[in-house]
């Protein structure tokens, strides 16, 4: 209502006709399903890891073999020597059930998002960088602006900037495929059908170690993403992703 007026202010990158549609319903729904699944995968992944907080490289690894590194945390199983005199509560059962269920939901949701973004133009319009921005000069300027925490431009409410686009593309087309690949490479049944999944990674324990690091990269992305939402204006950005509407002026300006 009063937002609609604000939205059509000059300088806004979006035409007035689309003033109430910042994010399509599909983008919003897939965004929040992914958020929910990521949280479930993160918590359950941590629960699974603490039953053996040691990492190896190659095909095999166990308490009799030297680890690549250990997490300095107590374990939930007594088999693992961690230097702590106690074991954590074992939560592996439901954690594994939920981990794989959330993985299915996020993979199917991700597929829907990626496939539809090719057809709706979401990929071309919102994610791929503008041709004019594909230069080192523009990129370094964007990085410099970001490092100075320069306030987002008015257009920022309507469109992703260069660094956002690159970050989102990296998450969607590099980190997500990698986390799925390294996850599947740990499945003895799946790799029996497609052995290259694990052989290309250098072994099952290598896949587990890589899965851990890719998950950390995704966690880092989520943390930065949330910080950026706060810096850009928590209420307006949340409203855009929940209701699809944008348009309130930057709260902090």
């Amino acid at each position: 209502m009063s937002d609609a007026v604000c939205v059509s202010s000059p300088g806004s990158a979006a035409p007035a006709a689309t003033a109430t549609a910042r994010h399509s319903a599909l983008v919003r729904v897939t965004h929040w399903i992914t958020t929910l699944c990521f949280f479930a995968l993160l918590v359950t992944g941590f629960e699974i890891v603490i039953s053996h907080p040691r990492f190896y490289w190659g095909e095999t690894g166990n308490v009799l073999t030297p680890p690549l590194f250990k997490l300095p945390i107590p374990s939930s199983r007594s088999l693992v020597p961690t230097g702590y005199g106690y074991v954590m509560p074992d939560q592996n059962g439901w954690s594994r059930y939920l981990h794989f269920q959330a993985a299915w939901v996020v993979v199917l949701t991700g597929l829907l998002y990626v496939v539809s973004s090719f057809f709706t133009g979401h990929l071309r319009k919102n994610l791929l960088p503008h041709k004019a921005d594909l230069s080192w000069r523009v990129f370094s300027k964007a990085v410099a602006n970001q490092l100075r925490f320069a306030p987002p431009s008015a257009a920022g409410a309507w469109s992703y900037n260069l660094l956002q686009r690159l970050a989102y593309l990296f998450v969607i087309f590099v980190l997500f495929p990698l986390v799925i690949w390294t996850g599947l490479a740990m499945s003895p049944a799946f790799v029996s059908a497609v052995p290259a999944t694990v052989n290309l990674l250098g072994g099952q324990q290598s896949a587990r170690t890589l899965h851990f690091f890719v998950s950390l990269a995704l966690l880092l992305f989520v943390l930065v993403h949330v910080v950026m939402v706060f810096l850009a204006g928590f209420r307006s950005r949340m409203r855009a992703m929940i209701t699809g509407r944008a348009g309130e002026h930057m709260e902090h300006t």
């Binding site: 699974i48 890891v49 039953s51 053996h52 040691r54 095909e59 095999t60 690894g61 166990n62 308490v63 009799l64 073999t65 199983r77 007594s78 088999l79 693992v80 592996n92 059962g93 439901w94 594994r96 059930y97 939920l98 794989f100 269920q101 959330a102 993985a103 299915w104 939901v105 740990m186 499945s187 003895p188 049944a189 799946f190 790799v191 029996s192 059908a193 052995p195 694990v198 052989n199 099952q204 324990q205 587990r208």
Partner: protein, 257 residues
């Protein structure tokens, strides 16, 4: 005119949406019926994690029916093979162990033509096979060993499995540990009744004298100290009907992940 066409449009939209929804619901119903018929629904499909479990089991069953677990070279065998902790073995086991397992029996009954009870020597008299495969624990650790034994398919052939058989349920001498697998896994050439490891006897710490080896699933399906098997057409009558002890303890029945 205009009004009527817009009314037509909304009616058409309503009908299309309704038809699409009905088709979707019917499709799901048919999919569920087909999945049940072709054995693509795991016994622990009830509850909030049923969706993920069913998708995993169904897709892997379709993808991996005939695929072989990776086998490794002799140089990749873990030295020493980890014998993970186990609960203190019961008096019955200790008695048999004191006798050098000479009295160890494996009984097989259920939907078979010739129920039987085998001694270890009888099991070892069948053509032996070996595989160098990885044992992967759900905790995250793993080791590679050479497993020597008789393919379960051979023993099932000896007792004569009836055509309506769908599962093999197998029991450890440890009363809390029993599992089951479908016929695709039971008849798979790498599913062994293993009695040897790395050229010698199968150590007690690794499940000796007799262990089921199932290299395409996680270690907890490879039950140690096997004494009994039942061939069945349904898992409803076993325990709580969830397929094995694992789901009763909160772990997935199908562990091919």
């Amino acid at each position: 005119m205009r009004e009527s066409s817009s009314r037509d449009l909304s009616r058409r939209k309503l009908i299309t949406t309704g038809l699409a929804a009905a088709a979707g619901a019917a499709g799901l119903g048919v999919a569920a019926r087909m999945a049940q018929k072709y054995g693509l629904v795991p016994p622990d499909h009830g509850g909030i994690y049923g969706l993920g479990e069913t998708l995993t089991y169904a897709s892997q069953r379709l993808l991996t029916t005939h695929s072989l677990a990776r086998e490794f070279s002799r140089s990749q065998i873990s030295k020493p093979p980890l014998a993970n902790e186990m609960p203190p073995l019961n008096d019955e086991f200790k008695r048999l162990q004191a006798g050098g397992f000479a009295d160890w029996r494996l009984s097989v009954n259920g939907m078979v033509a010739r129920p039987a009870s085998f001694s270890l020597d009888q099991v070892k008299s069948y053509p032996s096979r070996s595989q160098i495969t990885m044992l992967q624990c759900e905790e995250g650790w793993s080791y590679i060993a050479e497993w020597i034994g008789v393919p379960l398919a051979h023993v099932l052939d000896v007792v004569g499995v009836l055509p309506q058989a769908r599962y093999v349920v197998y029991f450890s001498i440890d009363p809390g540990w029993w599992e089951s697998i479908d016929m695709a896994d039971a008849l798979h050439p790498q599913t062994f009744l293993a009695y040897g490891m790395n050229g010698g006897e199968l150590p007690v710490g690794n499940g000796g004298p007799l262990r089921l080896r199932l290299p395409r699933q996680l270690g907890y399906k490879s039950v140690k100290f096997i004494t009994h098997m039942t061939v069945a057409d349904s898992l409803k009558g076993f325990g709580k009907g969830l397929g094995s002890a694992s789901p009763e303890a909160g772990y997935a029945w199908y562990a091919g992940i």
